[in-house]
Subunit: 332 residues, 4 copies
C-alpha cells in the first residue's frame, strides 16, 4: 500500500438536526466511520444486505435477558417478517417470553435495592427488572399441562427442542410472543442448552406426574440434524448475535461442521477478546476455524444490545421501506 | 416498602416501525426502562430538563478522541445554541478541532493495520482514524504564529486557558470549529491539562522564537477562579460527561469546592467502578463528596460516546422543537 | 450507623519483599482491603473456608477456554484433592482436556495474525492459542470408538452427561486429565450444554456408524436429578465460578430449585452487570432468587481467570499446608 | 511463515504446589503463555529487563486511586531502589500520599453504602475506601503553610511541578511517603494536571493569604523542559503505566517529541481500545506515532492494577535477588 491509500476518505463531521429519523442518524454515523459510530453504521449495512439477500438464511443468536427487558415484540416481529430464519436462544429468553404470553409480567425495578427484601416478597431481580415468583409459578403450571398434552400427542417419539417449541407455540394466543410468531412463521427455534433453564423444572414437574415410561422425550442432539439440513439447503448464511454464549457458538459451529462458513455476521456484545472466551472473540478469529468466510461482510459492535439492536433494526426497516417483503411464503 | 411498591410499573415491549424518528425510538426505550435502553432514555430526560432549565449552567466534559471521530460539528452547534455553557476538555480534542479548522483532516482508517508502515509514511493512528503528520505540522505552524501575536497583545499579562482559546477562536474562520463557536458564543473553554497535549509543543516552538522575557504566560490555575465565578453566579449546575478523566474531575471538583453540588448529571462512559478510578466511579459515590446533590437527576450510561451522545442530542433537539431558544443573548 | 463505624479499620499499605510466597502477597492485599486487592484477598478467605468446611459440597463452574490455556492440571489436581465435589463445565473445556489426553496439543500463538493463513494451514485460533485441526480429528476418532464401546455397554439405557464422562474417564490414561481425575475421584462432571460442543460432532459420527436403534442415548435432563440428589445430601453448598455462562447458571439454578441456597460463592469474571446478562450479574442479585443465602460469604472478582484463579489456589494450598486432607474417602 | 512455525511451542500446563513464591507462580504462567497469564508473565519479563538495563530511564505513570488503596509504600520503595527514574502522576495520588504523610488515613469501606449518610458525616468515598473530610482539611492546612514557606524561599521565581514536590518532600518525615522518597532519591515527580486536584484548592487558600504579588508561581509547562532534558540524556527509555490518562499520554508524548521512542513498555489497564480513548489504546497504535520503537519489548495487561502490579513487582524483586542494586548513586 502506498501512503495515499491510507489517506483517501475523510472523516466527515456528524451533523444533527431537529427531526431526524433513526436511519438519518445512522447515515451521519456512516460519515464518521469511526469508533462505535462506524461499527454501528457498518452493522446496519451488513444487516440490510443480509435481509435483501433472499438466498441468505439468517440465524439470530439470543443470549442475555433481552426478553425480560422488552425486546420480545421486536424479535417476534422480525420472525413474522422472515428477517430471521432460525432462532437460537438461551432457554431463559424463550421461557420469559412464555411468562408474558401466559399472563405474567416483568416490572421496572432498580439495580440498587435490598435483595433480601425482594427475597422476602418473592420478587426476583434481573439487574433493574423485577419478576414476581407467582408469574413463574403460573407459567410453570400452564407449561406442565402443555407438556402433558404434548407427551400424549407424541406417543413416545423423541422431540427436538424446536418441535417442542412449535408445539407450545400452537397453544399460545399472544401475537407478540416469540414462540407464537415462530410457530406461525415456521421459523425453527433451537435451544441447545434447554436443560439449563426453567424448562428443566417444568420438565421435572411434568415427569413426576407421568408413569415412568410416559414422560416427554426431548433430545437436544436432535435439533442438530435439523439445523444441518437447513444450512445445507441454504445458498448463503448470515448470523446476528445478541450477546454471545451458547447461541453464538451453536451457529458458528454449524457453519464450520457443514463446511459452509458464514457469509454475513453481526455481533453485538460487551465482552472483550483478551480473556479468551468465545463471547468476546473477534470475528477474525472465527475465520481460522472456517466459521466465517474470508470474504464475509462482518462487524462486531461493542455496546449494550438493548440500545444497539433496536436502533439497527429501526434503521434497516426504514431503508427497506413499508412495502418490502422479504420472502414469498410459496417459495419456501 | 410494601411488595406492591416493587411491582407497580410494567416493562412495556419496545415496538419498532418503518419510519421512526430518533426520539420515537427513545420513547420506546422509555417503555422498557431496562438495562441500557432505560439508561439512555433517562439520559435524554435529564439532558432535556437541563436544557429547558434556563437557570442551569451546563458544563460539558470532553475526553476521548471524539473530535477526530467527527463530533466537532455537533459540539460546536450545541455551543452556538447555548445548550452548553462551559466546555472542559482535554487539550487533544481542542487541538484536533484546530487541525481541521486550519485545513487539516482526519481520515477513515482501520484498527488492524501494520503500524510500522504507518510510521514510515508519517501517518498517525487513533484506533481506526488516520492523521497525517503534515496536518499536525501545519496546525503547529499556524498556532505558533497566533501564539506570537497573542504574546504581543497580552504584553506580559498571564492568560488563563480560556483566554488563550478565545484569542485563538477570534482568528479562526471555520464555523464548524468548536473553538470559533466558543469565541462567538462567549462560552468558556477550560483545558485543565493543557500542558499534556500538542499545545505544549506549540508553546515550546513559540517560546524558542521569543526573547526570554516575552513568551506567552499561560497559567492553568487562573481558569479556576473564572470557573468558580461562573458557578457562584449560577442558580443550578448541570454536567454532561463524555468519557471521564480530568474533564469530569474538574467539573465535579468545582461543584464540591464551591459547595454548590450538581443538580443534573449525565455520564457516558465504558469505564467500570471496581478498579476505583474516577472515570468509572458511580454518580452515587459523588454524593458523598458533595459533588452531586442528593436530589439531583442523574444517570450513567455504559456505552460508546460516539453512538450514545449523538442519539441523545438528536432526541432532545426533537423534543424541544425547531423554535426553541435556550437563552436570550441579552440576558447573559 | 455512627460516623466512627465508617472509620474503624485503616487501609494498611501493601509491602513487598524479595522472596514472598503467593500467600504472603495475598496477606498484603488483605491489609489494603481495597479495589481488586481486597476482592482477591476475600476470594482466598472464602475459598479457604469452603475447603476447610468438610460438610460443604463445592461446585466449580468452568466456562471460557481455560483448559486450552493450560489450567487442566490445576483443575485435575483440585478434583483429586476433593477441593471440588462437582464440576459443571462447557463441553468445550472437557473436549479440550480430551484432546490433550488423547495425544493432541495446544500451541502458543499470537492474537494478531492473519487468520486466513491459519485457515489454509488448518490451524484453529483461540485468542493467542493455536490448535491444529488434526488434533481435533485424532480426538474425534478415538472418542467415536469410545462412544461405540459405551453404546454397547449401556445396552440402550440412557446416560447422563456425567455417566458418559466417567465412562470416557475410565478409558483415559493421562493423570493430568480432568476427565480421568473426575473418574478416579468419583467427582461428577455435568455438561448442561453438551450438545453445543465438539461432542455433538463425535455423537453424529458415532450415530452414522450405528444401526438406527443402537446409538448411545444421552439425556442432558438426566443429570439434573443426579445434581439434585447431591445437593439434598449436602449440609452446605459452595460455588466457585470461572467465567459465567451456562455453568454458573446451572449451579445457581440447582441452589434455588432445591431451596437450599449457596453458603459460599466466589465468582471470577470480566463481565459487568449493567447489560443484564447472567454472567455479569452481582451476587447480591442472586439473593433475590434464593440462589444465595443472605448470610453467605461471597465475593465477585473482576479479572482474568487465568491470573486470578491460580493465584487464589496457590494461596489457599499454602494456608492449608502439605498435610491437609480434605475428606477421607471412606466418609463419602 | 510455514505451518510448523505456528505450531512450535506447546502450551504447558500450569502446576501449583503448596508453598510457591510469587515468581514461581509467574514462571507457571510463562509455561501457559496464554490469555492473561501470558500477558502477566511477559510483563514481568519486560519489567525485569528494564530494571536490569542500567542505561534505561524508567518512567512510571500513575493514575487511578492506587495510593488511597495502599500502594504508596510499594511505589516509595521502588523510587528509593531507583527502579523508577521519573514519576508522572495525577495530582490526586500525590495529594493522597501527603494526606497519609501528614497524619491522615484512608479507611476500609464498602462500595454499597448510603452515600448521603456519608455526606452527613463528612466522609468521602472512593469506591470501597472512606476518607474523612477532616483529613483533607488537616493536609490542606499544613500544605498551605508549606506553600507559604516555599513562596518566600523561591522569591518570585517560577517553579515546575517537580520543584514544588521536592520542596514539599524535604519537609515530610514519613519514610513511606512517595513524595519524601522522591526527594531523597532525587527522582522527579511531574504532575501535568496539577491544577485538576486538591493542590488547586491549597494553592487558592495560599494565594488568599499572600499580597497579590507574592503567591507561589507554578508553571506546568516548565516541567516539560526538565523531562525533555532527562530523556535526551537517556540511552534507553522505559514506561510502566498504571491505569492510563494524562500520565500515560505525557510519557508517550515526550517519547515522540524527543524523537526517541520507548524501548520498553508495560501497560496495566481495564480500558479497551474500541472507543478510541488513549487509555485503552493498544501499544501497537503508539508505534505509528513514533512513541514506541518497532523493536520495543512491550505488553498490555488487562486487569486491576492493585492485583497485577504488586504481583509483578514481587516477582521481579525475587528474580533480581536481595543484593541487586540498580544504580550507583555516584553514577548519576
Amino acid at each position: 500500500m502506498k501512503r495515499d491509500d491510507f489517506l483517501c476518505q475523510k472523516v466527515e463531521p456528524i451533523e444533527l438536526k431537529t427531526e431526524m429519523t433513526v436511519n438519518e442518524l445512522i447515515e451521519e454515523f456512516g460519515k464518521s466511520q469511526s469508533f462505535g459510530a462506524g461499527r454501528v453504521s457498518t452493522a446496519c449495512d451488513v444487516f440490510e444486505r443480509m435481509v435483501r439477500d433472499k438466498n441468505c438464511t439468517i440465524c439470530l443468536a439470543l443470549a442475555g435477558a433481552v426478553v425480560p427487558a422488552g425486546l420480545r415484540a421486536v424479535i417476534a416481529d422480525l420472525i413474522r417478517k422472515r428477517f430471521i430464519d432460525v432462532l437460537v436462544s438461551t432457554g431463559a429468553n424463550v421461557f420469559h417470553d412464555l411468562i408474558e404470553a401466559l399472563g405474567g409480567h416483568h416490572y421496572v425495578g432498580h439495580w440498587s435495592v435490598d435483595d433480601f427484601t425482594l427475597r422476602k416478597y418473592h420478587v426476583f431481580r434481573i439487574y433493574d427488572i423485577f419478576v414476581p415468583e407467582e408469574d413463574f409459578v403460573k407459567a410453570d403450571a400452564k407449561l406442565v399441562e402443555i407438556f402433558d398434552e404434548v407427551a400424549e400427542e407424541s406417543r413416545g417419539n423423541t422431540l427436538s427442542t424446536n418441535e417442542l417449541i412449535w408445539k407450545i407455540g400452537s397453544r399460545i394466543a399472544d401475537p407478540k410472543s416469540i414462540v407464537r410468531a415462530a410457530y406461525d412463521a415456521k421459523v425453527p427455534v433451537f435451544l441447545p442448552a434447554i436443560r439449563d433453564s426453567e424448562f428443566n423444572y417444568v420438565y421435572w414437574l411434568h415427569s413426576m406426574r407421568q408413569p415412568a415410561s410416559q414422560p416427554l422425550k426431548i433430545d437436544s442432539f436432535k435439533e442438530v440434524q435439523e439445523f444441518v439440513d437447513i444450512v445445507e439447503r441454504s445458498v448463503r448464511l448470515g448470523m446476528v448475535v445478541l450477546g454471545g454464549g451458547v447461541p453464538r457458538n451453536t451457529i458458528q459451529h454449524i457453519a464450520a461442521t457443514t463446511r459452509r462458513g458464514l457469509d454475513y455476521a453481526v455481533v453485538i456484545t460487551m465482552d472483550r477478546p483478551e480473556t479468551g472466551g468465545l463471547s468476546g472473540s473477534t470475528l477474525e478469529e472465527t475465520i481460522s476455524w472456517g466459521k466465517l468466510k474470508k470474504t464475509a461482510e462482518n462487524v462486531m459492535v461493542i455496546g449494550d444490545v438493548m440500545v444497539i439492536f433496536p436502533m439497527m433494526v429501526a434503521a434497516v426497516l426504514e431503508r427497506l421501506g413499508k412495502d418490502f417483503i422479504r420472502r414469498e411464503r410459496s417459495n419456501q
